[in-house]
Amino acid sequence: MSDRFQRDCFEILTRRAAAGEIDRRSFVKAAALLLSVPVAMRAKIAFAADQLVVANWGGDAIDAFQKAFGEPFTKATGIAVRIDGSGPTEGAIKAQITSGKIIWDVVDADANLGIAFGKEGVLEPLDYDVIDRAKIRKGYDYEFGTPGYFFSYVLAYDSAKFSDEAPKSPADFWNVEKFPGKRTMYKWMNGMLEAALLADGVKPEELYPLDIDRALAKIEALKPHIISFWGSGAESQQLLTEGEAAMGYIWNTRAILLGRDTGDQIKWGYEGGFLNSSTWITPKGNPAGRDNAMRFIASSQDAQSQVTLFDLLGNGPANPQADALIPDDKKALNCVSPEAEAKQVTLSAEWYADNYSAALEKFLALVSK
């Protein structure tokens, strides 16, 4: 075939694809036939994808994400949203990238992964023409990711065991004379080093970069009183409801459920808590294409969607405009409202991006001693 004819065929193909008339696989097949397979399919074509796959941590979050994010997106674009709840750990994402076959379009990942994987060049940069910066809280519009929601590590305690004074701060958590009883902490370390340092007298402004060894020494001192390091939400809940732990640092979403399930016997607050965010990331080469992924992320920013997620799971909204939409009786549960944020220390995604693996290894070695 002559060169010009090929190019013309290719242009027709591209225009038809841009009009959503053919899906990507057909496009690649046809383009290959024309012996002109484009190397970087980065043309601004939103192919008619048959589905968009979102990866999250499973459990209740599957239904919640579908209701809050999936349904509105499907209504607007006609693309079905499938939620894969297998838990996108750093290793799982890396495995997918290494295998060359990306299965996930949009991933609900830990905040530091957006930065870490972004540096490796395996993520699609966010398209801020589509994604609205106005709907993002200040400073959270990263190059390769932006929060899907916020959550916190809070000090929850069994109020039946502490009638006069209640433990409220990291210092209280470490004070075993005044507040006796077994404790539980997070196995995967986020927020725990910060709690140890604060208990040891470090000022919140001087936390980062974290003095890992100092924090580990402080935790080791408390270890005889730690009954278990919880690794899953279920475990953290169980330890407190069954009375095995008198207090613990757990997710605010769990704490909300605990308060409700135990008729408020388990109490908690945002004071002395640690704020963290999730991040939406898109691996390069995702099946539905970069543009559909960006459209999904933009769609998830909708204030009403965010409030739906808050209702279902208790996660704080990423969109500041959503704060106002939360009913008054629930406003206190919002971990990222200005009042709550002021009481907490925000975990630094940048520090975790550079240091998480190495620190976690030391932490786990201490835990398993």
Binding site: V53, W57, G58, G59, D60, A61, I62, R82, I83, D84, G85, S86, G87, A95, Q96, T98, S99, G100, K101, I103, S232, G233, A234, Q237, Q238, T241, E242, D261
Partner: protein, 278 residues
């Protein structure tokens, strides 16, 4: 059964005591599992007065559970069948051919058994994702793919089980059969395999259970299309261990008990019928 009262093979009192204690040990978790299946809360707890059937209800009405049970059953049956055939063939081969080459093959075949499941999971993950374009029906997140992975994981165990029973068969039986004119295949199907009946059934049962229970590898080679029962149970674990899992175990145990009772009843009736005629 000989009425020999010498009873040199009958178990003594010590062994009986050990057995009864072990049985108590084996059944102990039921003390927790049965009550938990009747708990009124949505998370695992012993019912403190709030007994309820909600989890049994959930099992019967929620299509998620029923679908995953059916899927797991189908996959387990298919995996067990394929694993048993492969294990029996190879086991027989080893039994007949004993040289350095066959020993090396045996070492190869035991590799999936030796590796921790999480390593097998990664290996099979990379293998099956590479099959997505070439043979998607056995690739990542497909039923065929799950069966393939289960066969890889279960066959070595089925092989060991089968070989144990095969090793007890005197090779001279085979020589006698051949001497009488039987071909290799005739000897295998009419003489050897019937003698190893219990071993074959054990191997098949073993492979079935391994596939039914399999979670580590399954977790990595499926996404959202193929949700087996263990995967369904695992899905909620981060959030909440669903007491429905306890309910499933109670139902399965009840079915097993009923099954064994029926079989014993049938045997007893047959024995009575035989006795009547005699």
């Amino acid at each position: 059964m000989s009425a020999n009262t010498n009873s040199t093979d009958k178990p003594g009192r010590v062994s009986a005591a050990i057995v009864y204690l072990t049985i108590v040990f084996l059944l102990m978790p039921l003390l927790a599992i049965v009550p938990v299946s009747f708990t009124g809360t949505r998370y695992l707890s012993m019912p403190k007065g709030n007994w309820s059937l909600r989890h049994y209800e959930a099992l019967l009405t929620n299509p998620i559970w029923l679908d995953s049970i059916k899927l797991s059953l189908g996959i387990a049956v298919a995996s067990a069948a394929i694993s048993t055939v492969l294990a029996v063939m190879f086991g027989l081969g080893l039994w007949y051919v004993r040289n350095r080459f066959s020993t090396m093959l045996a070492a190869l075949v035991f590799l999936p058994m030796v590796m921790p499941p999480v390593v097998s999971a990664i290996i099979l993950y990379f293998f099956e994702t590479s099959l997505i374009d070439v043979a998607p029906w056995i690739g990542f997140d497909s039923i065929g793919g799950v069966i393939l992975a289960h066969v890889v994981v279960a066959t070595p165990f089925a092989l060991v089980t089968f070989m144990v029973s095969l090793s007890q068969i005197d090779k001279r039986i085979d020589m006698a059969a051949r001497g009488l004119g039987a071909s290799l295949w005739q000897s295998i199907f009419w003489i050897i395999l019937p003698n190893a009946r219990f071993g074959i059934i054990s191997a098949a049962f073993f492979a079935f259970i391994l596939s039914w229970e399999e979670i580590s590898v399954t977790l990595f080679i499926t996404s959202f299309n193929v949700v087996t029962l263990p995967r369904q149970m695992w899905n909620g674990m981060r959030d909440n261990v669903d007491p429905a899992i306890a309910a499933i175990s109670v139902i399965l145990i009840s079915l097993t008990v009923i099954g064994i009772l029926c079989r014993d009843l049938w045997r007893w009736q047959r024995a009575r019928a035989v006795a009547k005629v005699a």
